[in-house]
Symmetry: C2
């Protein structure tokens, strides 16, 4: 289903995508569900006049999770790209519903791979602990917390999670998939009642960002000490005592890629299963 039917030379095309995840059952196509992938593939097929298209994405976001820097790619038969390319962005704007936008369209080398070529993904998790609740104009993308959170303790806990670790305690395990990740950044900052958790890693396993944030909230509430989230890295299975923070607070904000001449190397490296270095 994800292979383009047309034969002949293809142009690889990168799409930058933003969406409000509220009314989507996540990124990935599911039968009978409104998904970002489903809506985009249908719009692209319409505009490109193809029977179907297949998208590969950087981050398969869950139901309710938002994006303002999602990246996907697809292959477009060269004759179609030659006649449609420049107008694709405006045409898609007219066809797509207002809760999803393609903000960038450009031809990329065939080695570009939105999923395996990504160097890092950056997420932001927004929380408000204002006693009056969440700003109405941002309520679909901010988690409201009814009590004040100790963000200094959360920030301290966050520093202990950064680095190359097995994050199995924070992941929903999939058979045969690694849970070793390079957590490059995890910060907690406050401006008034607005709290931002920024999370950057080479990649994330399922529910990892929201589990990390959930463990930090437990610290912020004073239910757990600041060394608790870091201590979970010693476990060899999912930690059932970590609450997965709600989807609405989470936004995929950016994905990083290497320069074009390093694309092929990067994609191949990523396909090799990540392993903890021996010490």
């Amino acid at each position: 289903m994800h292979d383009v039917i047309e034969a002949g030379p293809q142009q690889r095309v990168r799409l930058d995508v933003s969406y409000d995840g509220t009314d989507f059952a996540g990124w990935a196509v599911q039968p009978q569900q409104r998904t970002v992938q489903g809506v985009l593939e249908e719009a692209l097929a319409t505009v490109l006049r193809l029977p179907q298209v297949g998208l590969t994405v950087a981050g398969r976001t869950d139901a309710g999770v938002h994006a303002r820097g999602q990246v996907a790619h697809l292959d477009v038969p060269e004759p179609i790209w030659a006649t449609t390319g420049e107008q694709l962005l405006r045409r898609l704007a007219g066809v797509l519903p207002p809760d999803v936008r393609i903000t960038g369209v450009r031809a990329v080398p065939h080695e570009f791979d939105a999923r395996f070529g990504a160097l890092w993904r950056r997420y932001e998790y927004l929380i408000s602990d204002a006693p009056h609740g969440v700003d109405p104009l941002h309520r679909h993308q901010v988690l409201g917390w009814p009590r004040r959170l100790d963000t200094e303790a959360m920030a301290e806990a966050a520093t202990r999670l950064v680095g190359l670790h097995d994050f199995v305690a924070f992941c929903r395990r999939r058979e045969g998939a690694t849970t070793v990740r390079q957590l490059q950044e995890l910060t907690v900052t406050r401006s008034g009642h607005d709290i931002v958790c920024t999370v950057v890693a080479d990649a994330f396993c399922h529910s990892m960002v929201r589990s990390l944030v959930g463990s930090l909230i437990a610290v912020g509430e004073g239910r757990r000490p600041a060394d608790w989230p870091g201590g979970l890295l010693e476990r060899d299975r999912r930690a059932d005592d970590v609450t997965v923070a709600g989807a609405r607070g989470l936004t995929l904000v950016a994905v990083g890629y290497p320069p074009d001449d390093e694309l092929a190397i990067r994609a191949e490296e990523t396909r090799v299963k990540r392993e903890l270095p021996r010490r």
Copy 2:
């Protein structure tokens, strides 16, 4: 209906209010309609255990217009205020729907008047002329414009509107009401595809902000020269050739008041009908 039934000493209370106007038929109570005033008065009556309360507001926003710095006042019987005051904000947070929040509650002198005491009101009108459309996460509060706007021409046109003028061309006239206003600030700024029109005046007549913005958009599109909006100030009736810009782009962001010891003077001054100075 706007008079509190209870006799005895009353405490005047200032409320700061934010709302997403999308699902409200504006501020003012109307039969069979969901209005901000209606929802707030019901929540306040519930929490204060009063049969009804009456709110006076700084800016009676239209259907679809948002606020993050709206101000209102009401009078609360002193014994009720004495027992409820400090907890009012949290209790209201639990009772109000998520699209309206009371962000501040405080006792003020009896001379404080949210409507007649205001020195200025500040609105922001947000436009995006991105070819891909409006950011999905901000789509309820930003007007999408499908063609690029010349914001330099808009900014130039805006400067010609600032000052004390009869804005009748930009107003829906009400019998006996003045349309003379002191427009203190009207600026147009761009950051990428995001355009902000900031409008500050002592007060606004009905539809004035959206008519000002509509006239600037006509300039930005090149349909009118930059001196056209300023020229409309010479007219003696509503200009039918000015398009009222859509409600969704407009947010009341702040209202200014004098220090407490000047409150009574200001409210009295405002009640006197504004007149153009003789030249």
